[in-house]
């Protein structure tokens, strides 16, 4: 083999580059974080499979219905009607933003912008405590 002083480092760089996921996961990969599911309620507005893949689409649809069309009722997969509201309907069962939403979103590195405008339950609780403390 000619130029092995350049070719062999080249092969090593190539292998390192295409196996980055292995190196960067060394020692760091732990059990996958699980979101905390509501204990009392077993059914969501749609099926579990649908919610897992399409919840962002549903939330977008809810936003458009509530804000742009002024419709606040949604008929779920089970035929029940729900009030369209992130803070009052979704977060009624999924009580924590940190323990439910963020666990998955941080894990898969997606960046929903719900909480840019909406107030997460944790924030509401903090606000309440602050108000009570000042009174």
């Amino acid at each position: 083999m000619y130029n092995s002083d350049k070719v062999i480092p080249g092969i090593i760089i190539f292998i390192i580059f295409f196996t980055i996921p292995m190196w960067l996961n060394l020692g760091g990969a732990k059990a996958i974080p699980r979101p905390e599911l509501p204990k009392e309620e077993k059914n969501c507005v749609e099926s579990k499979e649908y919610m897992r893949a399409y919840h962002m689409k549903l939330l977008l649809k809810w936003r458009n219905m509530a804000i742009r069309e002024g419709k606040r009722t949604f008929v779920g997969a089970d035929g029940k009607t729900y009030l369209i509201s992130l803070q009052n309907t979704c977060m009624k069962c999924h009580k924590s933003n940190e323990k439910f939403c963020d666990r998955c979103h941080k894990f898969v590195a997606t960046h929903p912008d719900c909480w840019h405008c909406h107030i997460a339950p944790e924030e509401v609780a903090k606000l309440r405590r602050w108000q009570n403390g000042n009174r």
Partner: protein
């Protein structure tokens, strides 16, 4: 013909995982066995190609240059166009690999009546840049699915890539880049008669294959959503060599189509024109300095010729030469021997 065969091949490659997963339920075959197999072929195949290339001797130094060569100190020379040392070759190579500098000089030739006219043609360069950079950033971005702790740089890339916030989830700029680049590169082959004439199935197939990967990926993000959480669980399992199908997650069929096409690309890579990724570093017209006049280049396959010098010849036929009355040039040969000894010392 070439186009049809390639398109049919890619359609068949889409149908294989589709039927395999949705009808036969071979999730773990297409999710674990095929990816490992494909990447094994990718690594072994590429290393094999590299070693094969590196074993080929380089008989001549043939850098292709288009600038002033380094010569006298008061003549300005072009470092990038006619590199004189390894460092300048590295620079030239860097600009070639990262910005496709030689493609920027691409020309088009057209007949106007009976006159052949050359003109600047930057479209091929632009399409290639869009495609390659799009592909590279998309590849880097996919790391978020393989790494347990996502490094913040990936979040920055994601932020910049979805900067325009069009649609939800936001459309990635690089998705549009790679799609636009691919469509241009494909249309170029289909529309331009001169390029079409020299295009084979091995040119169309990778284009359709990568187009299939890109379209299935975009559909998966925007239309037929899959459970990303389950996908990441599978991907981390693959990356940490503890592969397992996610337990209670249902990953949509389109994910397996996307993955199977990527695996096909990986396994096909070392045996196709796509190895130009490695081949570019082995181009003797690019990777050699233009120092022919400064340094002697010895052809490695030169046969070690046994030569008979004048002095050895004279020594051999000394008697005959003396008998025939020739004058021996012994002084000169003594000098030669001294020079040889000095050199050896």
């Amino acid at each position: 013909m070439n186009v049809g065969v390639s398109l049919l091949a890619v359609i068949a490659l889409i149908l294989i995982p589709w039927i395999g997963v949705s009808a036969l339920g071979l999730d773990s075959f297409f999710g674990i066995v095929i990816p490992y197999l494909a990447f094994f072929v990718f690594f072994i195949g590429l290393i094999y190609r590299i070693v094969q290339w590196a074993r080929v001797p380089q008989p001549f130094k043939i850098p292709s240059v288009c600038g002033q060569e380094k010569s006298l100190p008061w003549i300005k020379y072009s470092r990038l166009e006619s590199p004189a040392n390894t460092w300048e070759v590295v620079l030239r190579m860097f600009f070639e690999v990262v910005f496709f500098r030689s493609l920027f000089r691409n020309l088009r030739a057209d007949l106007q009546g009976r006159r052949l006219i050359y003109g600047s043609a930057k479209w091929l360069w632009f399409g290639a840049i869009l495609f390659h950079w799009g592909f590279f950033i998309v590849l880097i971005r996919h790391l978020r699915l393989f790494l347990y702790h996502v490094p913040s740089i990936l979040n920055y890339i994601d932020y910049v890539d979805s900067f325009f916030q069009i649609g939800f989830p936001p459309i990635y700029i690089t998705d549009l880049m790679i799609l636009g680049g691919l469509l241009f590169l494909l249309l170029r082959r289909l529309v331009d008669a001169k390029v079409s004439y020299i295009s084979h199935a091995s040119d169309y197939f990778p284009l359709f294959l990568i187009l299939g990967i890109v379209i299935s990926g975009i559909l998966m993000r925007h239309v037929y959503k899959v459970d990303v959480y389950g996908v990441k669980e599978l991907a981390i399992g693959l990356a940490t060599l503890h592969p397992a199908m996610p337990k209670d997650a249902h990953i949509g069929t389109i994910f397996f189509v996307h993955l199977f096409l990527v695996c096909t690309l990986a396994a096909y890579f070392p045996f196709s024109k796509l190895v130009h990724m490695v081949g570019v570093f082995f181009s003797p017209t690019r990777n050699l300095p233009n120092d022919n006049r400064m340094r002697r280049y010895v052809n490695p396959w030169d046969y070690p010729v046994k030569y008979h010098t004048f002095c050895e010849w004279q020594e051999h036929f000394k008697e005959q030469l003396q008998q025939a009355g020739f004058e021996l040039d012994e002084e000169w040969c003594k000098g030669q021997n001294v020079a040889k000894e000095n050199k050896a010392a």
